[in-house]
């Protein structure tokens, strides 16, 4: 009994206060952090389904106009991480809602194209034009804790 209470207590402590619906498990893999986080934030894989990550990794040579090609071994390791933690595979936190709103016929490769993103970002134009924003995919410009998976601070 004691052990059980202890375990329950630890579980409560481990579950952070913000582990609500809007929390998205952050990227933990050092290679993914480094390679995907060099030009932009390393986006959490939970925002897209596995089929989207596969499509993205198939097209690195033209990655939104950029040649983001990687050596085959690195690309394979990154793909495995993204797919294993994809929204429709791991499905933790916000991913469940995000995936629920996505039609299974769609394979978006921009997180900003997903219905969940758009629903949460019906904002006046002037907010997007703020010079610190630059582009809609620059999450940390407004969500300062985005890299840790916290998006509730809007």
């Amino acid at each position: 009994m004691r052990k059980f209470i202890l375990a329950a207590g630890l579980a409560l402590i481990a579950l952070p206060a913000w582990a609500g619906d809007d929390w998205m498990p952050p990227v933990t893999d050092p290679l993914v952090k480094k390679e995907c986080g060099s030009c932009h934030m390393a986006f959490q894989p939970g925002f897209l389904p596995a089929r989207s990550w596969n499509k993205m990794m198939d097209g690195l040579a033209d990655h939104f106009g950029e040649d983001a090609s990687l050596p085959a071994d690195k690309a394979a390791a990154i793909r495995a991480y993204l797919v294993n933690n994809a929204g429709d595979v791991a499905g933790q936190g916000r991913a469940r809602k995000a995936m629920g709103r996505l039609s299974s016929a769609d394979t978006p490769i921009r997180i900003t194209d997903t219905p969940d993103f758009q629903r949460k970002h019906r904002l006046p134009d002037w907010r997007w034009k703020d010079p610190k924003v630059v582009t809609k995919s620059n999450c940390p410009a407004c969500h300062v804790e985005a890299e840790r998976g916290l998006y509730e601070d809007d």
């Binding site: 030009c39 932009h40 934030m41 950029e66 983001a68 630059v134 620059n138 410009a141």
Partner: protein, 135 residues
């Protein structure tokens, strides 16, 4: 009296190489020198003009290197395409700069295409690093 003096001299010596020579950077430069036909040495001033010139040869958001790395290599930059902050590129501020050959090559390829609309030559790459080593 002499002991503390010697100690501080030793500490100074230990601290100094932080932004001086790095064997990996030297090796990268040596490779570019080898690939540069008719090589007569790299030039910091040619490197500076590569850095500051408004090339307007690639992506319209990035007419020059300074579009992301700013006019002052000792300052933080910001990616003009994604808004992501970039650490200073001057070696005096960031001694790890130009020491990882894979990163250096990958970034030259991407950034030169984005700014000049073509790859940089080995001489341009050596000049650029030489300029940043003096910054």
């Amino acid at each position: 009296m002499i002991r503390p003096l010697m100690l501080s001299a030793a500490l100074l010596l230990a601290a100094a190489p932080a932004f001086a020579a790095d064997a990996r950077r030297d090796a990268i430069l040596a490779d570019y020198a080898k690939a540069d036909s008719g090589h007569t040495g790299f030039s910091a001033s040619r490197g500076e003009s590569l850095f500051r010139t408004q090339w307007k040869g690639g992506d319209e958001r990035t007419p020059s290197c300074t579009a992301c790395h700013t006019d002052n290599p000792r300052q933080n930059g910001r990616n003009a395409k994604t808004g992501r902050p970039i650490d200073p590129v001057a070696v005096s501020v960031n001694s790890k700069r130009f020491t990882d050959v894979d990163l250096v090559e990958k970034q030259f390829t991407r950034d030169c295409k984005s700014v000049l609309g073509r790859e940089c030559t080995p001489r341009e790459k050596g000049d650029y690093i030489t300029f940043m080593m003096g910054q």
